[in-house]
Subunit: 231 residues, 4 copies
């Protein structure tokens, strides 16, 4: 197991970042991290308190979903995480939470519109919501099908530019280039959901950011022309 120690450590630290950012109630939420070269995913065990977690508790699975390490059962959402790694090239971590404002949009079946530059700094356009799942999908391989409706929703979207989705009636799945980055994106999502909700209450006609401003802010922080932060 030693060869996955770094992966487990990164996964462990990312899971602890969920409560640190205030994204967790009860035992809801989980983060996984992918070692793409080895084809191995580390993920939080199911239903374990965040205070009791240890790095070596992180469950290890291959991309076929077969458990290859760890003494606990993996998160019940594992099949969703793996589905995303298989579909979205370039993501290294997936974070799932029931953070309160993002869940409200998911329950309302509403995408989060891009109403300001805070949103544009993290997400290059609205954060989409999936279609309702069919009874057949729910009663079948539910967690895998959850992944499938996410992938379906991103058919014409770039998951590296919009690293989050709202699963209809459920909550957000968010991803990133590292465990901590995925959780940071999950926190940014919660923040823009909160501010979008309030904006819509102050002015129901509030329109999305102009394309020029959306591009400016996203590209100020991302890609070849980024000039935010230190070199």
């Amino acid at each position: 197991m030693n060869k996955y120690r770094d992966l487990q450590q990164e996964c462990y630290e990312a899971n602890l970042a969920l409560p640190k950012y205030g994204l967790v109630d009860l035992t809801f939420g989980n983060v996984s991290v992918l070692d793409a070269a080895k084809g191995i995913v580390a993920i939080k065990p199911s239903g374990v308190d965040y205070e009791k977690l240890k790095a070596e508790d992180m469950v290890l699975l291959d991309l076929g979903g077969k458990q290859v390490g760890g003494n606990f059962r993996p998160s019940s959402d594992t099949a969703t995480h793996i589905r995303l790694y298989r579909a979205f090239a370039g993501i290294r971590s997936v974070a799932h939470s029931h953070s309160r404002y993002a869940v409200a949009f998911a329950q309302a079946a509403r995408s989060i519109p891009c109403l300001g530059t805070t949103h544009a700094d993290y997400f290059h356009g609205e954060v989409p919501v999936t279609r309702p799942m069919t009874a057949k999908e729910i009663q079948g391989s539910y967690e895998l099908e959850t992944g499938n409706v996410i992938v379906e929703r991103f058919k014409e979207l770039d998951p590296l530019h919009i690293p989050a989705v709202l699963v209809h009636g459920h909550g957000p799945f968010v991803w990133g280039t590292s465990g901590l980055k995925a959780v940071e994106n999950a926190f940014a999502l919660e923040l823009v959901a909160e501010m979008a909700w309030r904006t819509m209450q102050i002015n129901p006609q509030a329109g999305p950011l102009s394309t020029a401003l959306l591009d400016k802010h996203f590209l100020r922080k991302h890609g070849a022309g980024a000039y935010y932060g230190q070199k």
Copy 2:
């Protein structure tokens, strides 16, 4: 009194969990625990600060409402608790709070609709609100009658599948299979009330979860087919 020490301890710990979960303002709120075999209920004393509580302060009563131990007067809501133990077979603890979002629904005379999977993980359908009490009920044995309107409301509902109710114009009563579980359910109720409120503001037409998804999430965590958490 020593033979009830464990019961008092469980009741004490559950009462302390109320402020720990942020469910308490001032001295509102109380938890009781039942020892069904002995027919004895332990409950918080009335109007005592949570910081000053001790395990041995928990008041002991039989199911006829007669005080059999403890030096304080029991919670003024004691008759409501006892009414629920007599009506709902299988519950071991009752928690009452004035938690802010659940109270808002109770004051609005609105059930909390099941709008998402967070709700379905804890409550198998909407959390109902009782009818208004009559002047006669209020001026009579008020706390007992409060229990009666709850029992009336659950005539066609299973209290083990929907372990909470909103008392019209007042607030929530929540129950569970242990002191801590009842308080956890009270926290989950507050959480889903908060998210339901916000969902209804984002989309007033937001519909309830499909039956398939409601069943999937409730049964993923409860009953014979549960597969959430560790064995």
Copy 3:
């Protein structure tokens, strides 16, 4: 000055309770306490940080408004406090805050309706809002006139049964039988304002509590027939 040390101490502790209850932002807010027998009021000095306050900093004034002790200038709202002591027999302390939910009702020029038992446990009916002040009143003895519009508003109300008011466009003044009790009432006011606001959003038609339930809860805690708490 020593003969007022107890009065200063009570006033000091009550002022510190304001930030403890989360009722204070910046330097807004102040509490006074009356020694009715001596005709002396202690009050917070104006614009001093709560962290730097000392008991001996509490300013002492007679009921004519003349400063008789303390090295600081009294709160700029002093004349309002003194006006209330002169009009409302039986109150021993006045607390003023800019607590956020109560201010919102004051700014909205709306009384806080009694929508639930939490409200009825503290206030025997809606918490009223004053009329707008005239330019003449504002440009004259503003703080005294603020007291006058409060007294005018209570012409047909019992200040001992409704120990709070919202000053139009400004915020709450709350009173009680001791320094700490006045601040507890100010916290209860903020709490019921928060829950009333949310109730009105969930159900704009939510009606006030029935008279029977209002009386039951208020009288369960207040007056000769009270049975809440310990003897």
Copy 4:
């Protein structure tokens, strides 16, 4: 560099006050301080965590925007800050945040109306929102142009009486006579935004404060006739 040590220290302390007041999420936000005599501005470096900041990290620039000290790149918003110092005589510090309620108004393209005395204590009238920027402005010298639309908006306003603005779709810029005062004003802005939002929900017809009351409260704290606080 030693001759700017005091300026860096003041700037450093003001930047730390942003998270202390709860005005910061992630790395959003920055404060600058001007030494008008020397024509030098100190500002937070770009994208550096608040926990890791040191006083000597504060970047130094002249009013032409040329970096004259510090090892980091300055905040990406630097050109906006400098534009304000050049236009608004008498301000010594500028604070920018993405505080949640103020951002909601900026995203909603709504000024914050003066609905109460808390607002009037800090801002002599509504806090204005800028017009949307053109694509040309955004794609050109974006941060400088952001400063230009603020200056344009204040053509007929006194920046010393209304020390804050909302940049359309973005967030607040706030200023003051010292680093800590600018941040205090930013906190006051967030507070009045929160209360204004809630007021508008309770009563959509809530009108602005009367001119008499606006003047009374602003002038009670500011200018020659001020009588709030200690001498």
